[in-house]
Structures are given as C-alpha cells and as structure tokens.
Subunit: 342 residues, 4 copies
Amino acid sequence: MIKAGIVGGTGYTGVELLRLLAGHTEVSISVITSRAEAGRRVDDLFPNLRGHCDLQFTEPEVERLSTCDVVFFATPHTVAMHTVPQLMAAGTRVVDLSADFRLRDARLWSHWYGEQHACPELLAEAVYGLPEVNREQIAGAQLVACPGCYPTAVQLGLIPLLRAGVVDIRSLVANAASGVSGAGRQAKVDNLLAEASDSFQAYAVNGHRHLPEIEQGLSDAADSNIQLTFVPHLLPMIRGIHATLYARVSGPVDAQQIFEEFYQDEPFVDVLPAGHAPQTRSVRGANVCRLAVARPQQRDTLVVMSAIDNLVKGASGQAIQAMNIMFGLDECSGLQTIALLP
Amino acid sequence: MIKAGIVGGTGYTGVELLRLLAGHTEVSISVITSRAEAGRRVDDLFPNLRGHCDLQFTEPEVERLSTCDVVFFATPHTVAMHTVPQLMAAGTRVVDLSADFRLRDARLWSHWYGEQHACPELLAEAVYGLPEVNREQIAGAQLVACPGCYPTAVQLGLIPLLRAGVVDIRSLVANAASGVSGAGRQAKVDNLLAEASDSFQAYAVNGHRHLPEIEQGLSDAADSNIQLTFVPHLLPMIRGIHATLYARVSGPVDAQQIFEEFYQDEPFVDVLPAGHAPQTRSVRGANVCRLAVARPQQRDTLVVMSAIDNLVKGASGQAIQAMNIMFGLDECSGLQTIALLP
Amino acid sequence: MIKAGIVGGTGYTGVELLRLLAGHTEVSISVITSRAEAGRRVDDLFPNLRGHCDLQFTEPEVERLSTCDVVFFATPHTVAMHTVPQLMAAGTRVVDLSADFRLRDARLWSHWYGEQHACPELLAEAVYGLPEVNREQIAGAQLVACPGCYPTAVQLGLIPLLRAGVVDIRSLVANAASGVSGAGRQAKVDNLLAEASDSFQAYAVNGHRHLPEIEQGLSDAADSNIQLTFVPHLLPMIRGIHATLYARVSGPVDAQQIFEEFYQDEPFVDVLPAGHAPQTRSVRGANVCRLAVARPQQRDTLVVMSAIDNLVKGASGQAIQAMNIMFGLDECSGLQTIALLP
Amino acid sequence: MIKAGIVGGTGYTGVELLRLLAGHTEVSISVITSRAEAGRRVDDLFPNLRGHCDLQFTEPEVERLSTCDVVFFATPHTVAMHTVPQLMAAGTRVVDLSADFRLRDARLWSHWYGEQHACPELLAEAVYGLPEVNREQIAGAQLVACPGCYPTAVQLGLIPLLRAGVVDIRSLVANAASGVSGAGRQAKVDNLLAEASDSFQAYAVNGHRHLPEIEQGLSDAADSNIQLTFVPHLLPMIRGIHATLYARVSGPVDAQQIFEEFYQDEPFVDVLPAGHAPQTRSVRGANVCRLAVARPQQRDTLVVMSAIDNLVKGASGQAIQAMNIMFGLDECSGLQTIALLP
C-alpha cells in the first residue's frame, strides 16, 4: 500500500484527489494538510466525502510528510518550491499540481510568476508530467510537475500535428474556455455566481501564465520555437475546459489519421470519429481528453477541438496517472470513473 | 456473473444504469433495448461511455430478455406492464424503474395514470423497492417496483417521524424541488435550456402522480391514513431532488435522535449533524440520501430536509441496490461512487 | 426634477437603482457614494451602464447628501441608522433599502441584528414601504423602510388571506427560495459559482433575519399574533424569489376571488388565472409580484405561490415605487420595464 | 403612429420584438400571427407580457398584414420569401429577421439553405440591415434583411480592420459562442436543459449557414474576397453571443484608435478602453455591441472581442433600429433599455 500525503487539501484539486484516491485500491492517504482548517474533519468541509474519508486536516509538517511514499502538492504556486527540496532530500517522491516546476527556465518562471524561484536547481530534475509525452521519464522521476489545465488540453490537441510537421508553427491559435473551478476555491467577487454565471468573456488576453508552459511543450514537440496566440475565456459552469485550436496547413493532410495513430495506445485520450465534436460534459469527472479534428471547407486551416475536465485530466486525475506510472502500478488504477452525463 | 438486461436504454435512467453497472464487478449487461435506436452503438448516443461500453441497442424481444437473470425497465410508465408477465413466467427477475407496479390499488393506479392496468394480478406480488423499509421482502422478490424520485426523498424524510408516532399525520407538507433530468430525455419546449434555466416555479400543484405513491408509503409507516400536501418545483439544474418537509409536533421530541437511530445501520442514508442542511451537490452522482432535521424557534413545526440525486438514489442507484439485495450480493456493490463536488 | 442621492452604490441594489432611474424622466441622480470606490467611474464597475451614467462614486458626506430631495440607502444593515437622523434633520427624505428601520420594536431589532439600534426614536416614525398595504402613510412619510425581499414575496402572498380571516394563523408555512444576488456583491466562498451553482439547499432554518419582519407584517394584517415557519433556500441562479406558502383552511373558501379582489387596483401585483403557477423568469428585471393560489385535492391546505425579482419588487423597484408615492408622481414612473424572457 | 405587424410571433425574436416595441412611443403593433397559436392570447404564452400586451395571435393573412406600415418576419428561413413579394406589391415595408434575403447570390443561398429561392429577383433590392454599414440604404429601403446574430458580432468586430486595410484577409478566424436561445424555441433533445447546460462544445464546424453571410459582408468591407474560418460554439446560458476574432497584421497598427474612430458616432457600438474585455452580461437585453481589441505580446496577431445579445442587437433590437431609420425616427427610439446586470 502506497502511503500518500496531500499538501493544501482545502482547494478543489485537493478534494478531487480525495474523491479519486478513495477508489484507488493501492494507495492510502495518511495525511492531508491545511493551515487554515487544521483540526477540522475533511468531510465537514466537503460533505460529498461523508462516509468515505475519516481524515482531519493537519498543519503542514515536513517531518510527517516525509514519512509518505508520495506527497501531492495541491497548493497555489510559490508554496511547493519552499518544501519540496526537504522532501526530496528525505527520499519522498513528489507530484506537484502547482506551477512551481513546470518551466525549465527559472528566469522565464520569475517573469510570469513575479518572484525568484526558491530552488531553481530542481527545475532540471523535475519531469513534466504529461504521460502521453513523457511516460518513461515520469516512471523514473522523483519530482513530477503536473501540467496546468489549459496546457493539457492545448498540448494534447496540437502535439500530434507538430510532431507530424504538417502545420505552420508561427501562426498557431488556441482559443480556450474554462469553467470557474479553474480559478480555485477562493473568495473573489469576480467568481461569485451572481457575477460569473449567465455570462461569457475572454480574460488575460494580453498574457496568461499558462502561455509559456504551453509554448515550451509545443516547441519541444516541434523541435523549434513555435508561436501561439492563446486566449482563455470564462465559462458559466463549474468544470470543464474546451480548447479550439487553429493551425494552418498547406496541401493534403490526413489529420484524422494522424490523431488516431498518435493516440492509438493511450488509455486516456479519445479521438472522436470524423464529424463529431467533443462536449465537456462527456468528460465531467473523468480522466480523459476527447479530441476531434476538422478541416472546414477543405481550406488551409485545421480546427482541433479538445475537451477535458480541468480538475481531473487537467489536474488531480493526471497527477494520479503520473503517480501510477512512478510506482509501477497499472496506469489506470483509480481512474476508471465514467463521466457524469447528464 | 449476473446477466442483466435493460429495456429502454435511451433515457437518463438507462444511461445511469450503464454508468453504475460498468463499475459493478458481478454484473454484466447482455442486452439493452431501444426501438428508436436499434442498431446504434450505445456510446454513440452517450459519449461519456466511450471506452466503457461496447453494446448496441437492439429491438426489445422477450425471448432474448428472458435469458437474462434480471431485467431492468427504464421505460416510461405503461410499458413494463405489457412485458413483465412474460418475463415473470420465464423465471426472469424484474426491477421496474417505472411507475407500473408501485401502487397496490389498481383503481388508484388507473385514476392517476389514465388507463387500465395490464396485469393488476401482479400488483400484490410486486415489492416496493425501498430497501430501508422493505429489505427482506426485496430479497425474496421476483418483481421489484422501484420508488419514484420524489417518493424516495419524501418517504426517507418522514418515515422515521411517523414510525415514532410523534407528528400530526393529517397536516404533513412536502415542498419538493427537482432538477430537470427528472422530466426525462424528451423533446419538450418547457424543458429547453432557454425555458427552464434561470427560473424557478411550482408545477402540478393540483396533483402530481407521485402523491398517491407517497401517501401509500407514509400511511404504511403511520399504520393509518396520512394526508400530505405535496408541491413539486422545477429547479434550473440537471440533477438533484431536495424535499423540505413540515410536520407538526406537540411537546418535546428529540428528532435528531429519532433520525440517527432509525438510520444507524443504513449504508445509503446519511443523517447530518444538527444545524447542518444537505446540499444536492453533496449527493450528485452518488447513491445516498442526506437528511437533516430542525425545529425552528422550538415551536411546533419540525422541518426535515432530504436530498438525493434523482437519477441515482431516486432511480438507477436504488434499482441496483435492490438487485444486489435480490441476488444476495453486497448491497453496496457498484454503488460506492462519491458525489462530484464541486 | 427630483434630485436623488444613493448611499452605497457598489452593491446590487445600487446598480439596480441606477438602471431603473436612468429611465425615470422626473428624477436625476446627483450623487452616488462608496468609500471603497470613491473617484471611480460608476460605469467602470458596472459596464452595463456605459453610455447611460456619467457619475463617479464619491465619499459619503452628509452635507452633500442633504442637498438631495431624496436619499436612497443601498447599504448593508447598521449603516443607514448612523446617517439618517442628520438627513432627516436637514429635511431630506429617505428611502432605506436596508433593514435598519423595518422593525418597530428596537429590542427585537437588536436581538436579530446583534447590536443596539442607533436611533430607536425614529422607528415609530419610519413607514414600512409596502405600497399595497401602506400607500397613504408612504405618501406622507419622510422616512420609508423598504421591505426585505423575502418579506415582500411572503406578505403579498398571505395578507389577502389573513385580512379575509379564512386561514389558521398559528400554522403558516413559508417555503421560500432566492437567487444568490440576494446575498449581495460580497466575496464569500459559499456564493462562488463553483459552490452555489448546480446545487440547492435550505439555509438559516433555525432563524432568518427576515422572520420577525414578516411576522410583524402578517400579524398586523391578521390583527393578532400569527406564527410562521419560514425556511429560505438558495437557488442556483442570479435573480428571483419564489415563495410557496401553506395555510390551513376549514370549509369552502374562494381563494382565487379573494386574491383577485384584493389586488384588483394594484399596478404591480398580478394574480394569475386559476391553474397557473408563476415563474421567476416572468418577473426578471420587472417591478411586479405574480401570484397564484390553489387548493390541492380540495383538502384543507391552501397553497399560494408568489414570485418577484428580489432586486426589483424586492428592493430597488419597490424603493422607487415608494419614492414616486412620496413625491406625488405617477406610481409607475420608471417602473414599466418588462421582464426579460427568455 | 406606425402600424406594425409581426409574422411568427411565438419564437424568441417575436417575443423580444414585443418587449422592445412596448416601450416604443411611435409604433403600435396591430397584428401578430401564428398558425399554431391562433386565437391564444400572447401573454398567455409569454407571461412576462401580462399587463403590457393585449393582443391575440391570428392566422397569417396577407390582406391584413398589408394594412400595416411595416411587417417584421420573425420566422424560420424559407417562410418570409413566400409572402414578402405580395406585401411589397401592396407597398408595405418589410423587415425580415430570417435569412431569406441576406445573401445577394441566389445560388449561394440555395447551396446553404437547401432549396430554390422563391423570389430571387428581390435579392438585389433587399438592403442588408447593418446600420453601421448601410445606414443610408436602409433609410430608403422597402425590404431590409436583418443580419444574423453571429454575422452581426463578427462583422462589427472585423470591418474596421478590413476597411483600414491592415490585416491579412486570407487567414481570418472567428471563434464564436452563443447562448441557446439562438437555436430558437423548438423542442429538440439537444437543447434541453439536461443536455445543453453544464457543458460546452463546438458545432457545425464544417460549415454553418452564417459563414457565407459573414464572408459576403467582410469581402465588401475589404473590397476583395476574404477567407474566414468560422467555428461556432454552444454556451450553457440563454442569451448572448461572444466572438473572439483573430487577424494577422505586420508592422505597427494602432488598432484601438482604428476602432474608436470607426465607431465614434455610432449609438449602439461601444469600444471598450484598452485592456478591457466585454462580458455578454453587459449587453444582456440591450441593443449594443461592445468591442475590445488587443495585440498580445505585441506579436503579429490581433485579437478582437465582440459581445452582443443575440436576441437584441443580433435580431429584434437591430430590426427596430432599421425600422427607425426606414421611417425617419430617432434611431434610438425604443432601444434605450439598459442591460440587466447582475
């Protein structure tokens, strides 16, 4: 039985880890931390867990966390980087769901996150936890940086085309939309139901923190510096990310085949038949990315549609998938839940 | 391995049976019928099932259905009663999610459903499938009539008080509200998103078909004819039923204790601590009824709050719970999914 | 032209006053205050007002406010009572949308609002601003206390029956539900879209601050102390209050006629034909209360349904209606907007 | 007083015409038709109109319609073209909200709408009713074809750039999203609340009927054939269209200034300050298009955001705007309603 800890268990990725791990037969959670809620029963905060979780939140203490086989960080950025080095030194494996170890370039990280990185020396060691790209490296990693939600949806939608070398890498567009759970469980006027429901808008048009992460991954796939216009939008719903991706091609390309072949052995990427479009509800609560591709009017722009649940394949599910790989478990353990539809 | 069939698999209770049974290790679905969709892959209609269900819809044929150990009817009312007698004769066990066998009185049934009952002789044999009340009879039943969604929420909320004999049985009020999936997957203007969202209203105030079913069950519990005012409302959301129940008491009553004791051994009824109120989201996708009770200002009216997912504890989950009991399986098999929150 | 001021213009009742008064030909807003947003353009905070409102928020200053003919308080409770005495002394008329002057009994007020009332001597002078009950007193008032949102819906639904003396006044039940804009424009985790949408629940079951206000009004109507069980619920939508009211009767009562006659001359109360049920969307954005009444199965419980927009007839619209009466204007001025449907 | 008729009054654009025209002091509606609902009171179908509309639906009869000064067609496509010629002959002016007269090329129309055009000779005479482009022609028109909802949002967002000649006209992208009221008030499973809420998806990726209309308008603006990739999406809400537009530029362009100058005299187009993004809720119920423009990272792709209410500036409001122009009225008459926020 793998002994797991969760740092920062009061956010949405925390409760989602608990929901999914409750069904994982080879992992038991031994500690879940929260400074603000220390001493409170977890199922008092998250009543969906009543009957499924007997834990209480505790203060985050490195000593206790380091007795775990693996620690998940479900914290805002800039938290994990202050504790991870100690856990690494203690031999504990780490799956960080935050942004602290996603970028290889510490200066780029500082530019986008506004402060110095606390342990830049670990950036090279951290493995970017997108199993469809880095499965082998994840298996041997002590520190995995889970991809962001938008980056997961966008990369899974564009990498096959970039690897195939069939699209113009300087004019990529990612028009993405997310449910508000992506903004976390924090009291902000902008995310009130009375503000965010029954409306739709773009945000962070001049620069979202997920942009450098996406460009890093796509440039790796293209083996050259790509350029992406990335515009996120806020959807009036809780869960779900949908990315509509535009890439220019010239000449005949069998994009459907490129996608089907690229993902033919992947357990958590589903390429829809030609002519279909993925709905976010078809992945609600499930660790899957559903993709579709089209070439409207046979012109020179490919359109890729990519849908995930931002809290599952975009966060906690993908973290567990990485953990399964790290510990040599069946990659699908604990991740077989079916999307809730309707 | 129990061989199961589903009649009427294109509705919401049908897809929910499939979602839940996919995680049930002792049941396999061998046939799922739909006249309208015969020949179509199930996961083409319900893309959340892609990768989890390899079935196609077939025409409903008694011969084939009768090879099953158990057949679920996920049909509109008046369908099951025409086929059930043949399946019974063939020795197949039946779990009917529709209203055809819920009322013991054929004349009352005709009054509310507007036609003659096709097999009134089976009404006495049918067992009302509320495990918290009829567990033993369900175990021995060949035909189980699953309770309606409102009746489940209302009965679980009032039966403990009626059994305890502490409330006035002639002035009960059930103010209930349901998400629109309760209306089924049928094209009706009233249930369009543009009509039903961003609004709230009562409906069927002068008489909803679930009233006689609820009164039958509550009268059994009270061992006397009770009288209930039942007003359902339509919620602008997909899943969830919430019932707010009002019952008049006189003198001191420890209602919290009555509920906790009544349900102490029940795996799927959760009595919240005093002072809490159940949220429908805390049961979304889960086979559980969460209850709370209060006595505002210590006056003479008790308020009980009862929340279920209408498609799970109010339909398909409860049907599987009954099946588990009928076949001597662990009552919780396939029903351990945790509610999706947020 | 009436010169109006608004204190506390950054909340939802503030922006709603602006929306409605923009279409009022006899009122101009000369000042709108907000400590937090002083100096900011109003339409920067509320972009729906771009092109319709040229004001900036200013610090609240009594001197400036007292130059207005009328000042609206769109503030949380306990704010108005500290400024109103000075404005009254200056001869300015006041319409308070908060709870500060709604209860006549200062001790009862303190019990529910948790502090001493700052000017209990004004409570007797304040007129409760429900035009359907107090039209004449409003006309002569210098200080009007606008009813709360729930109290408006509940009182308009029960007063005709109480005046007619046909219902048991000790067993009244008000089961009410509100959109989340009723909780105001404040950053609270509970009101996030990710928390409050796609769910339904009761709250404040053991005592909501609107209870004493409702009981005061209903007792006046009954000319005797009534007793009400009041359970509010939170709806997953922005605007709208729906109250389902239960009252016990004995013998024949033509409730439909009682309502139609009681409200026959009221411009903003609409009694629906028998058999109908009001939808909150039918009043969205409009200053109207739609009512319906039924007597299910001709038993002894009447069911009244009452729907308002909590921000219009439940707050800002009713405040303008009161102001129109106070200044001898057409009671409907500025209030003819039609509900937005769909 | 202008005498107006509405053909097809049971859909959403019909009820929206009624809502807006009720506040128009120079127009009275004398007839509103519906085959299905003939004889029924309009406010029985649309309860928001109770107290504001005394009309009944009647059978559509040319004779009666031709006594109107102006007739609005709020019908599905292929209806208007069979009646308009007779009304034209009778001298009645026509504002068609459907697609029948939007394309100048009858063969293109047939290709997209699947049947022969009934009166191709009128296509040249019809004026495309986008006031910001065709104000003068509208003034003199007998037949105005109102733009579609997507075409309004997309054209208003791209025309200034095309007129300025600063963008590549062969690689335009319009990523658009609409609330479900755009699909009309028709019973379809796909548009049920239980299907379309809490989800997001693209649709009609391989070709939406609004594409040729948009390309016609944009090509006019560019004075050359443009090429657009247009991908519409379905939003889980009732009203609102948001278009995110991508256009490639080279070299320095002051896009903010281009937009501000282009629309400086337009009463119903609002260019937001740099750095802002339009929310659909800021136009809910209002006849306005709010626009913003950005150039992320100063790279070579401009991003334009355009938000309208599909039923107002995208349909009925724009139709009234055109009518105001046709009859020499103040262009803003009846169109001053402020968006409902929150």
